[in-house]
């Protein structure tokens, strides 16, 4: 792959980050409420007894008293240097808060991704390989069902049965691998189902291709054809889906982390949005944009490795 291609992709990524930052800023600024007032209300509906002077002093401290373009320019300049300021609600540095929460969410989404790939492969294989049509049909009916189950419901059911009734795994907290299993499973179900469905469909399409006939004519066994020839050709659409859904892992963590009482990026998002904590929300928006951009870039770079017919640029061919 060429440097030119990478350069172009990086420029695109920077643009996407800027657009996400700016859009986020605009939306938050348009909201009618005021982050300082929310902080002073202390998350309750109680009376804020702060004097107008005290409120003004706090607004000045967070730079909220300046005109919008100045606020925006300052925020953008600092953000470009990796400084998102301090959370209005807790006063903690935004970067610190995010860096503290990020490992927890990475563990969760990482394991969830492994689970969803395993689930997806199982469904795709089970829905295309068995000789009995009834089995294939039954397996292929799983994805639509799994996708339509709301994540919070799946989470609550798993907690009820596995944790509260069987008492096998903890229902809450971030401690140890055991606490990671149920939330990852919950998160993996809809994504794994989608990967499975797309993969199964492209396997079925690929099975009709002439090269399968050729392979069969050359005496390749069913399993070899399925795993070696067809799966590889069929995996490109599934990879695209997986990339798009990597973003969903982040979104899903909002629900899953709440249900399983885990700390992490999802919980941070809930708090930040609820209290209109502009600096923190901005940090999180940029984080999500970075995640999307890098996963997509990674997948684009992986395509040619899987299928040599895909090239990364018009000029160059991956060697």
């Amino acid at each position: 792959m060429t440097l030119l291609y990478l350069g172009r992709r990086l420029a695109q990524a920077v643009f996407v980050l800027w657009a996400a930052f700016t859009l986020g800023y605009g939306v938050l600024y348009l909201l009618p409420s005021d982050p300082v007032e929310i902080m002073l209300a202390g998350g309750t509906s109680g009376e804020s007894s702060a004097t107008p002077e005290q409120v003004a002093a706090l607004k000045a401290e967070f730079g909220l008293d300046q005109p919008l373009p100045v606020q925006y320019a300052k925020a953008l300049w600092s953000a470009a240097h990796g400084d998102f300021g301090h959370s209005v609600q807790t006063g903690a540095s935004v970067s610190d808060s995010i860096l503290e929460a990020l490992p927890e969410t990475l563990k969760l989404t990482g394991l969830a991704f492994v689970f969803s790939l395993a689930f997806g492969l199982l469904v795709a294989f089970g829905g295309t390989y068995p000789r009995w049509p009834a089995v294939r049909q039954a397996v292929l009916a799983i994805p639509p069902l799994a996708v339509s189950l709301p994540t919070f419901w799946v989470g609550l059911m798993l907690v009820q049965v596995v944790s509260f009734q069987w008492r096998l795994l903890p229902a809450i907290g971030n401690e140890g691998f055991e606490s990671l299993v149920l939330p990852s499973l919950t998160l993996a179900i809809p994504i794994g189902a989608l990967i499975g469905q797309v993969l199964a469909r492209s396997i079925l399409t690929a099975l009709e291709e002439p090269y399968v006939e050729t392979a069969r004519a050359k005496g390749a066994g069913r399993a070899r054809i399925h795993l070696r020839h067809v799966l590889r050709n069929a995996s490109i659409p599934a990879m695209t889906v997986a990339a798009a859904w990597a973003g969903q892992l982040l979104a899903g963590s909002v629900v899953v982390e709440t249900v399983y009482s885990r700390s992490g990026i999802g919980r941070l998002v809930v708090d930040a949005v609820g209290t209109q904590d502009i600096p923190l929300v901005q940090g999180l928006v940029v984080l999500s944009a970075v995640a999307f951009v890098s996963v997509n870039l990674l997948v684009d770079l992986l395509y040619p490795l899987v299928d040599p017919r895909v090239t990364t640029s018009r000029a160059g061919v991956a060697a």
């Binding site: 509906s45 009376e47 809450i172």
Partner: protein, 552 residues
């Protein structure tokens, strides 16, 4: 998705058992206490069969919301205060049963007649966990630092409103002077919001303190705080200066406390029931029965302060009409609301103050369900029946809105019931559920007819904070006799005089003018495993773990 998330959000509160009027013996020392308040039981009252208290063990306790900021001087969230109470001590303590102020770090105190100057004599030997003494200089440093925190120290700042200075008379004696009478200050010294932190803590930034850089003199010390995950406390070795109201002396029984943040209420009750934790706050009404016996116990207490109510914005054309407000007061069936939306752990409001507040005065005659009375008031006021069953007058529909959030999840059901009950007399109540942010914005701009809220405080001065025309005055009242009554009660610590002014204020607010439509008192409903003993509520219905121990 957002509705699901909000299921498990904050803080329940209020209710108690028996109320017997008695005279407080300490006329000068006690805040307006004409009542024996809240005969609230502590956990494991049948301690006889459990044997003597045992030391040891770590208690796992679930909170419904993240404390966000651990500094008790800065943050007023129930979750923060339920942690903060264990790490700071206060000058005084308030008896939850009588409302009287009792010695803690201060052995004794005197107050001048004008209620502007308070002199405290400190006990010997108390130290912060960094080894520095709890002396007069430390008290001064704390109060000065709170004033400097400004708006960031919400509750504490209100308690110190009008603070002029603190003077170190000698190492054991400190005098606190106010520019104006501040009778509420004595009760305020019993709260964790004015709990004492070491001089090294006072020197830290507000942010560092929020994140847990706190050194107190309390029976537990802070070990670790991970936002959205939990707080770990450990026993303070050598602790020997508990409140005079505590049931034992010396160190706390528990080795430590692990607070877990569990926002989803179904998960909170499930983890408790499956034995993964020992206790949890905010047990929803529908789950109470699961923890009443069967190896569990419920610890319940009504919150003092302002009950949940519809606060009228009297600058709005319809609610400026006193007859409409009085009709709303009569049209609501509070008993039905409590029975349907809550449980017998909650109590209908009976006044502008909740029953467990010192100075509470019964106004329930004006709050009796009287549909015919409400209709008559509206008829006489010229509101004629109109289309859709909603009355109208001079072309204007009798339609008002209420703004609220789901900080207390049953609010939705309560307001829906109120909506039906008002419809029955021809008043339309439009429900406007808002996010916290939208709610504060609407309050600031006055864009509402009714505001649904409650406030916890174990002193009747809370009425002045809410209804005085000299503060935020969200109800948009005009200066008048109510201001006079509110100013009188804060100018005296004479029990009889203060009680009289506070009673007058409650009558004006509820019975005479219906500025406020009180509906239901908040209750704290705590679920506990039966092995948890000696957990008790302090006077503001926050938890104290000092006497708590784990039985078999």
């Amino acid at each position: 998705m957002l509705t699901v998330l909000s299921l498990g959000l904050p803080c329940f509160s209020c209710r108690q058992e028996m109320l017997v009027p008695v005279r407080s013996p300490f006329l000068v020392l006690a805040t307006a206490t004409a009542l024996v308040l809240a005969g609230c039981s502590s956990a494991g009252d049948g301690a006889a069969e459990a044997g003597p208290p045992q030391s040891g063990g770590t208690l796992k306790f679930a909170l419904a919301v993240d404390p966000t900021c651990l500094d008790p001087q800065q943050f007023g969230l129930n979750a923060s205060l339920n942690v903060g109470r264990q790490i700071v001590d206060s000058l005084t303590d308030q008896d939850p049963k009588t409302g009287e102020i009792k010695p803690w770090l201060a052995e004794s105190w005197t107050v001048d007649d004008a209620a502007t100057s308070f002199t405290f004599t400190l006990r010997d030997g108390a130290t912060f966990s960094d080894g520095t003494p709890v002396d007069a200089a430390a008290v001064k440093t704390n109060f000065d630092a709170i004033v400097k925190l400004g708006a960031k120290a919400q509750l504490a700042g209100t308690y110190l409103a009008g603070y002029r200075s603190a003077t170190v008379v000698d190492p054991k004696t400190v005098r606190v002077d106010f520019a104006a009478p501040s009778a509420q200050f004595l009760q305020a010294t019993s709260t964790m919001s004015l709990g004492l932190l070491s001089a090294s803590t006072a020197a830290k930034t507000a942010e560092q303190r929020c994140q847990g850089d706190l050194v107190g003199s309390g029976p537990f010390v802070l070990k670790k705080y991970t936002p959205n995950q939990g707080v770990t406390l450990a026993r303070r070795t050598g602790y020997a200066w508990p409140s005079s109201l505590a049931e034992h002396k010396g160190e706390a029984y528990l080795d430590g406390i692990e607070y877990k943040i569990v926002p989803e209420s179904g998960v909170r009750t499930g983890t408790l029931q499956s034995g993964q934790i020992d206790g949890a706050t905010d047990i929803p009404p529908q789950d109470e029965a699961r923890f009443d016996g069967n190896g569990f116990q419920l610890l319940v207490r009504g919150n003092p302060g302002i009950p949940f109510n519809l606060a009228a914005n009297t600058s709005k054309p319809i609610l400026a009409d006193e007859q409409v407000r009085l009709a709303v007061q009569k049209a609501l069936n509070r008993t039905e609301i409590v029975q349907t939306a809550l449980s017998d752990k909650y109590r209908s409001a009976t006044s502008a103050l909740a029953k467990s507040t010192p100075g509470w005065n019964d106004q329930s005659a004006a709050l009796k369900f009287d549909q015919d009375g409400a209709k008559k008031l509206l008829d006489a006021d010229g509101w004629a029946p109109g289309p859709g069953g909603i009355r109208q007058k001079a072309g204007r529909k009798l339609s008002v809105d209420v703004i609220y959030n789901l900080a207390f999840p049953p609010s939705q059901t309560i307001l829906e019931l109120a909506q039906q009950q008002l419809k029955a007399v021809g008043i339309e109540l439009r429900l406007r559920q808002l996010t916290t942010g939208e709610l504060t914005a609407a309050q600031a701009t006055g864009d509402f007819d009714f505001l649904w809220f409650n406030v916890t405080r174990a002193d009747p001065d809370i009425l002045r904070t809410i209804f005085s025309t000299k503060y935020a005055n969200r109800s948009q009242l005009k200066p008048g006799p109510l201001d006079t009554a509110l100013d009188q009660q804060v100018a005296t610590l004479d029990d009889a005089k203060r009680t009289q002014s506070v009673a007058e204020a409650q009558k004006l607010i509820v019975t005479d003018h219906a500025y406020q439509i009180p509906i239901v008192e908040l209750s704290q409903v705590i679920g506990l495993s039966e092995k948890v003993r000696g957990l008790r509520f302090e006077a503001s219905s926050r938890l104290s773990f000092y006497d708590t121990w784990l039985g078999k």
